[in-house]
Subunit: 137 residues, 4 copies
């Protein structure tokens, strides 16, 4: 049997609060989602006026960051036409997002134990919000 | 053009907090989700130890309550074999939930402007949590 | 090669207008959809305040009426547990609706050449609107 | 609770009529669809001889324009290989269209309150029809 760490609801709320604050600071109304070690949703918020189409994207960015233990920005670099992971976004029933805004959450030993996904702005904005969110974990 | 009311994030948080408190009181770790007038997710939480399979169900119960302006418990009464809406759960790509735990949220004029969905316990428990949540709207 | 009749846009509009008028008369804000001989959508309307979850249902009722050349109310009688078509609603990727509100549209020789689907009220209301709509074809 | 504007059926009909007229002028039989503030279909028409495969595309272009508060032509510019939103069309269960023909509908304060989507011709034709349609809102 294995012991693993994962994300508690109170962790997710802290992560989301930090993301929300950053989103307000940079004026980018966002969806922020957190998944646990199993890649399953722990919590999600859509700030007022954030894009509706970004609900799904935020949840999927968080999933992707945990599913492959990587930021979606890094995955993007390997998922372009001709790259080693080109086509990965066709897997997992459309849940793999290959653009910036998803960041893994790391546990006490550095292992990935969850993910946070942000969607609502440009790639740079989403990434900034996701990093601020993840830093609060 | 029409003016309508919908659910703000702060409303969704108040609704979720009330549901969470009720869930603790009755010892039923729950997923609680809130959708807006368009049936789109505003916020979701999964309490620690709540069923993972209930993430989707809570979101879909909230959707269903708004999609048909009814509680899912009432819809259930009309969706059994031989009933007038039997088969409705095959529509909307699997998003229609026909058991208790989804409650519509009503605006200032009594119109439905959103929905809350709860999943994690028995039908009675989910319904109790959803009603407590909805009452905070 | 075969000659077939099908539904023109102007036919669909006439059918929808008749359904809309009936829906107003009986106070049942409805979705009304018309499909052609290929079962493909020609036109759809959602009246103000009609159920959002009924968009999909109206289109699927119209599809079903054409797909099996029958009213969905008649199909319902054969699609209950134990009946000869029980389970038919699992086919066609969730597009088969087995409750009242879908009516076939018949061409000059009595053949089915399209369908109209109505959703937004009780089974009886949807059926009444669909019949009024279909009669205008 | 928030007050928002959305698209009424009569608005959708006016938008569709303007699109239909433009489509006739340029000889491009089209599907024209309108969604409301929640991204949900209000009305759709398929002109005689318009592509059958464009039913879905027109509805999804309208959805996309509202889901991300942008024209699909503008989104397309950011969704090519190497761009910041490359892969966005894998989200939202295949509903995100990243080519021309979807235009947001703006309310009295400039906010996006719906969308119109057109499909049936070339990108330029679809865009011309969508713009003519949207201008009638």
């Amino acid at each position: 049997m294995r012991q693993i760490e994962t994300v508690a609801l109170e962790d997710a709320r802290r992560v989301i609060a930090a993301g929300e604050q950053k989103a307000r600071e940079i004026g980018s109304p966002s969806n922020v989602a957190v998944v646990d070690a199993g890649g399953n949703l722990v919590a999600h918020i859509r700030m007022d006026d954030a894009w509706m189409g970004s609900i799904d994207i935020s949840i999927n960015k968080a999933f992707t960051a945990r599913a492959f233990d990587t930021s979606t920005a890094d995955l993007a670099k390997n998922a372009q036409p001709g790259d080693q992971f080109y086509g990965i976004s066709d897997s997992n029933h459309g849940r793999v997002m290959i653009f910036a805004g998803g960041v893994p959450l790391r546990g006490s030993n550095g292992n990935v134990v969850g993910g946070v996904g942000v969607s609502g702005g440009t790639g740079d904005q989403d990434q900034a919000v996701a990093e601020a969110a993840g830093a609060a974990f």
